[in-house]
């Protein structure tokens, strides 16, 4: 993937992540129930954009990054969709307080995940970093066990 495209995708992911943080902050603790419920619309929009990105960007990536990027974007889109369904469903049942907690928790966490994804994509999209990142990724799940020795 060209570096300019990698930067574009990463910027989008990071900005979307930050936007989710802002939405969570604005509609979590202070808004009315209706305002909180309406957070599902930007979530739906994010899902649709992520889905679109998952269809377009992997085709522009190098062969050893294509599958990783596709799975990454599809999973984040799927996560976004599940949050949309869940929040939309809970909007019908949850009270003002419960909804504020749900919106804050889900959007803050997902926002952080998208920011991290953006950073990961920036490095992984560059060939010079990819083997290094993959190699670390293979060992990452074991560091707790290694630390215990």
């Amino acid at each position: 993937m060209r570096k300019s495209l990698a930067i574009m995708l990463s910027t989008y992911l990071i900005l979307t992540g930050l936007a989710l943080e802002v939405i969570a902050a604005m509609n979590g603790p202070i808004g009315s129930l209706a305002q909180r419920g309406r957070t599902v619309y930007p979530v739906l929009a994010c899902f649709l954009v992520l889905l679109l990105l998952a269809l377009v960007f992997p085709a522009l990536a190098e062969s050893d990054y294509r599958k990783v990027l596709r799975v990454m974007l599809l999973l984040s889109a799927l996560g976004m969709f599940l949050i949309y369904v869940f929040l939309g469903f809970m909007w019908m049942f949850a009270g003002r307080f419960a909804m504020s907690v749900l919106v804050a928790v889900f959007l803050v966490l997902y926002g952080i995940a998208l920011v991290m994804l953006g950073v990961f994509n920036y490095f992984a999209a560059q060939g010079g970093y990819r083997p290094f990142i993959y190699s670390m990724g293979r060992e990452l799940p074991y560091i707790y066990y290694r630390y215990r020795i």
């Binding site: 060992e139 707790y144 066990y145 630390y147």
Partner: protein, 503 residues
Amino acid sequence: MDYDVIVIGAGAGGLSAGATLASRGFSTLVVEQSGTVGGCASYFERDGFQFDVGACIVEMPEAHERFYAGLGLRREDYVTFLRNDPLYELIDMTTGERILVPSSLEETAEMIGAYSARDAASFRWFMNKYGPVLDRFADVLLTTPQGRARDMLKVFARCPGIIKSAHVWMTPYGKLLDDLFEHPVTKGMLGNYSVIGGLPPSVQVGLMMWLVYLEHRGMYYPEGGMGAIPRGMARALEDVGGELALDTPVRRVIVDRHRARGVVLADGTPVTARAVVSNANALPLYMDLVGPEHLPGAVVKGLKSYRPSPSCTVAYLGLDYQPPMRAQHIFAMASPELLDSFWFSIFENGIPIPQSVGLVTSPTFMDPSMAPPGCGSLAFMTVAPPRPAGGSWSEIKWDYLDKGIDMLDAVFMPRVKDHIVTKTIATPEDFETRLSLPWGNIYGFSMSMLSQMAFRPGNRSRCVKGLFLCGGSTHTCSVPGAVNSGVMAADLASEEIERRRAA
């Protein structure tokens, strides 16, 4: 108790731990399974030639100074280091060009300048800017025990420069070379350090520029061969009152209520001690000598998760002449991309490539007394898979050796084949059997970032009290790293024994 401490293994780490503990007045026994001391830095004799088993380069001699000073002895009385000047010769594998790499940073910058003025400026800038940080980091890392998060934080607290320049050290080595240099010779020369550091350029961290700096600070070879280092240490051990038992394998470590209480020797004799220090690799130590039944499941999983460090074959040749060489070591030089491709073919696909001769070294270049008068010796190293695809080392090793010699004759040293008096080869299988190195790997465990410091087996065992570890599987950095790790394990064991005596 029979002893205060029993040390398993008389490698550089075990000997330094044993001697340090003995010098502090603890009754110490060092047991070694083979008939010689030294482990990876040991030696053997064949037809009048003395060969180094593996290690053949010494950096950071201050580790040895510190060790002997700690015993109240003078290093000069036990081992003499001869400085390599020039450091080594490079052979460009594509053009056949030979390049001498000088022993000072400025001269090396000038040598690089002959190919690219921009590269020379980058090299000078990098070494001037980061040299002092690397200097400090080497000192701190090698003298701070590892194993816990707070030990790791201590290293960074004592060397804040390494955090400030983390963006450089965390860049993949190959990318760092691409960013800093333009000429293929510069990249090829510096790319070698990545492989010496145990990983290919695309996976290695930028921190491995450390090695470039360290070697220019001084690269040495001991008078009398690498074996002179452990022999000197063994003499020091006995001079300070420690005992050394060769040909004494250990069957298991006695563990009772999660505490190491001694060892059972191979002949069934139990020997009890207040603490056990192990120079053996952590994997056979925990899995074979301690036993999984004494370990938490998480520890077993952690031990099994380590990836091997590179393994290699070493061919040893006795010659009827001293081969014409301009430096003790000759390295093959290839582009970082080619190094990557070789590496992955060998270690991911298990393909043995006899032609991948990486290092040729002549011990007799530095010390002619290691061969009969008028003769010389050579050793050449090729990185090689631990288990060759579709066969075993015992089936293919002689053919592999002959192909390697053909390569040596064709590229490195024309007509050397006509001068061979004696030849033999050690394969990863041999290193695994004789030195108890899992997969025959030469650096203990993988050199990746997530196998270092707090993520490498600690100097103090977390799961078996009274058990301390040293050597390559706890601290890397070759012989000096092993020597330092022994001293650190001894420091921790001393505290433990004092505490137990007081109790």
